[in-house]
Amino acid sequence: MTSLTAKDKDRVKTFWAKVSGKVEDIGSEAMARMLIVYPQTKTYFAHWKDVSPFSPSAKKHGITVMGGVAFAVTKIDDLKAGLLNLSELHAFTLRVDPANFKIMSHCIMVVMANMFPEDFTPQIHVAMDKFLSALALALAEKYR
């Protein structure tokens, strides 16, 4: 996959500024959708008392994940270096199959389109898709 152009980064940062007030809502909504639409993802959360999409655990986790994305926006100029610790966490402790990063990215974007229909234009969509793909790649860096 290609790296992010200056325009891509600009678009991501601009859109992020617009949605920054709703980041937690986006996170918990994306998490819920992922558990509903892709039930196989529930296998990672068997340790939760309640794996239902709108449970307190799911909500909290969506917020955590989205916090990670927000952090990645601040590291957009060097995702590999910036996400080193998170990559180690996902590689050695969590061991989430990277295919799921794509699934989560899709759910995040469905929610962004849903909550910000006027702002999630095709141009913003492609920049965000590239960013989330680059993020996933950086996250998988330490896997093998």
Partner: protein
């Protein structure tokens, strides 16, 4: 045979009963051509696709987007036989159009996002699941006759 719940049948029927084909179709196809630019390979004779604005404003793209979206109607009308409904179209896409079937998934992801933007709150997790399941079945049927 695909099993559909009552909820899934009702959801698909509802979404398509109020579908604005001339808005959603063009929006989905143009978004696909912008977000996944390699898909432009199939539209060499569509004229100006040089940038996002050109793609979004292109009347041939708009017309074709509407055509594609209407292509889903036969699946909506016959959800229990989608595979046979699309056998001919599958051959067409393989033998004549030479479309890589991976592209069907890309377009259906864009359609999901466009419909999500249009329906807002109504497009909740369960509705999304039904819609994506429906599209997955169509996509699978369209790829069936490739060899």
């Amino acid at each position: 045979m695909v099993e559909w719940t009552d909820f899934e049948r009702a959801t698909i029927a509802d979404i398509f009963s109020k579908m604005e084909y001339e808005v959603i179709g063009p929006a989905a196809l143009s978004r696909c051509l912008v977000v996944y630019p390699w898909t432009q390979r199939y539209f060499g004779n569509f004229g100006n696709l040089y940038n996002a604005a050109a793609i979004i404003g292109n009347p041939l793209v708009a017309k074709h987007g509407t055509t594609i979206l209407h292509g889903l109607d036969r699946a909506v009308k016959n959800m229990d036989n989608i595979k046979s409904e699309y056998a001919e179209l599958s051959v067409l896409h393989s033998e004549k159009l030479h479309v890589d079937p991976d592209n069907f998934k890309l377009l259906s992801d864009c359609l999901t996002i466009v419909v999500s933007a249009k329906l807002g709150k109504e497009f909740n997790g369960e509705v999304q699941a039904a819609f994506q399941k429906f599209l997955a079945v169509v996509v699978n049927s369209l790829g069936r006759q490739y060899h």
